[in-house]
Amino acid sequence: MDATEELVGKEVTVELKNDLAIRGTLHSVDQYLNIKLENTRVVDQVKYPHMLSVRNCFIRGSVVRYVQLPPDGVDIEILHDATRREARGS
């Protein structure tokens, strides 16, 4: 799970299972894939003004559909190696 820790500090967009999409800076992730984002804005603020006064939030892992990553924000080779190591069980 060190693969996700490499993303801390990057801008990500989290799409939830209720179709809400929240963009922010990744602050932390945990074993349940709960996500803490800072500097958050909802992607469609007109359709979803429900979080206008929220700037930092905790998103429960169970409700995440996707986490959109910056295309150049991740070193694919490092991710690949980390995944191979995880699969091997080390």
Binding site: M1, T4, K17, L20, N34, H50, M51, N56, I59, V63
Partner: protein, 97 residues
Amino acid sequence: MASTSLEPLVDQTISVITNDGRNIVGVLKGFDQATNLILDESHERVYSTKVGVEPIVLGLYIIRGDNIAVVGELDEELDASLDLTSLRAHPLKPVQH
């Protein structure tokens, strides 16, 4: 892997989005690893496309963790600058697993 805790939000005003699409605002008093929450002075904000945001006073509540989607730190300054009576929006959709 690090733990992402709700500890810094204790005694802060938070905005919770539940799995059934409700928005509940209150002061976080306690939580646990299952994300069960204890919310004091809470009220629900009901959004509608016809009228402004309607508050429903709830009081001291326990919200079960498996019904929680988002816990947001409410910025009191930002919230005060909002005119909730003129906000029109569709209610949030329920979570579909």
